[in-house]
Symmetry: C2
Subunit: 258 residues, 2 copies
């Protein structure tokens, strides 16, 4: 028996976002690995062990889970959101690439989930309704100048921008610097959306503008969407505004960025 | 009574990807609107009417669904994948923006789903494990030179690229032209993934290289992922290879694109 490893996306946290495929993978596992707070969201199951680890320990967690699965066990590694977007899927692949040959014989399965940008966008309308870029602001694993290069490219070409990991205790200045960077290319009035903990009791969604965005509270769990020249608000009496990026690009925008 | 409209993401098509939130929204609706083949996937329910429409009729479908909801009814509009990614959420917002004031009083809810790029990526590993761009290749709603501008920006800055709507009968040459465009910036050996109908009986996943990608069959329902300099394959005996983009950017890549 060669063992099984499922890399499971939990979505934003609430059960309403957990797909049947993810629920089945969790139920099948004899051992769960993941960031402690993600594991804490899951109901306890008899005969299922839990192996919580800290944030920023992804490589060690991936290797531990692979080693456990290689003993012939059915193991699940959980990610918030989708495992393929700044989460555990790449960490698992990286470990398989450098690990023992036996890890390549494992039955490895990736189970997609609702990633934060989709959940936040759905709460507010359709800010990602046109072309967009997805960028982690963490410079733990890539140099900061490369992040600035990508922010420039995205803003100049008229992509909306979804930013993961905007702020952490170890990275206090990067988010404000990133906002200044995109302001070189975009008007100060462009809508910026902050979303956190979608579907959970502490959910927080805020809409501001690029010029005011640096004043908005943000942390590792916040997802930020910077709109485009074309992103618009629809005011609604007694309801929060809708924010959307139209599917059609008007001629004026083409001329502005071509 | 003001009426309700849910814009619901079905995911890639198989029930295993349908979130509980989406299932509940479908069950609550008295009328379902959507592209015919998407509606055909859903089980019939007593007392629930169906209003199929053709592809490329998104604006009319959105207006019809809003008009129906404004009669005080509970209506759902379905999208394949996620409604916020090149799908019905933006079309609904566009119609609310120009429609009667009463449409702004509706209880409108967007229900996220597993969009094609996440489902395809999960089938193969973690090709979107680092920064990436998401682009529709359809030039029905934006001019082709803008698409080329965005392909240049994405490839030059080292983003992986997820391409929606690569080919249609009315757009026979665009996909090959787009591949030629990114080849100006990327080596011919870069992995390119084709995915279609994930989770359905006719699922097809293929991995090729940038130089051979134009030979691969593709249609409107195909999702294409173009990797980066760093995207790698892990060969596995008796299993399909894994494809992933590492979380870490090596110094050589930074120098190549900075």
């Amino acid at each position: 028996m060669s063992g099984r490893l499922a890399v499971v996306g939990l979505g934003p946290g609430d059960e309403r976002y957990l797909t049947p495929e993810a629920a089945a993978a969790l139920a099948d596992a004899k051992a769960l690995y993941g960031y402690g707070p993600y594991l804490d969201r899951l109901p306890a199951r008899a005969g299922q062990s839990r192996h919580p680890s800290d944030n920023r320990e992804e490589a060690a967690r991936a290797a531990d889970a692979l080693r456990h699965a290689a003993q012939g066990e059915s193991v699940a590694v959980v990610s918030g959101g989708d495992p393929g977007v700044f989460a555990m899927a790449a960490a698992i692949c990286e470990q398989i690439a450098v690990g023992p040959q036996a890890w390549r014989a494992l039955d490895v399965m990736f189970v997609p989930g609702i990633t934060a940008m989709l959940a936040v966008a759905a709460r507010i309308g359709a800010p990602l309704g046109h072309d967009f870029c997805v960028l982690s602001l963490s410079d733990n694993l890539k140099p900061w100048p490369l992040i600035e290069r990508r922010l420039d490219a995205a803003a100049q070409a008229g992509f909306a921008i979804a930013l993961y990991n905007p702020v952490s205790r170890a990275r206090p200045w990067q988010f404000a610097t990133a906002l200044e960077r995109v302001r070189r290319h975009l008007p100060p009035t462009i809508p910026v959306i902050f979303g956190r903990a979608v579907g959970r009791p502490d959910e927080r969604i805020a809409v501001t503008t690029l010029e005011n965005a640096a004043n908005e509270p943000a942390d590792m769990a916040t997802l930020v969407i910077v709109g485009t020249h074309e992103t618009r608000l629809i005011e609604r009496p007694g309801r929060s505004p809708l924010v959307y990026t139209p599917r059609t690009v008007p001629r004026a925008m083409v001329e502005a960025i071509a």
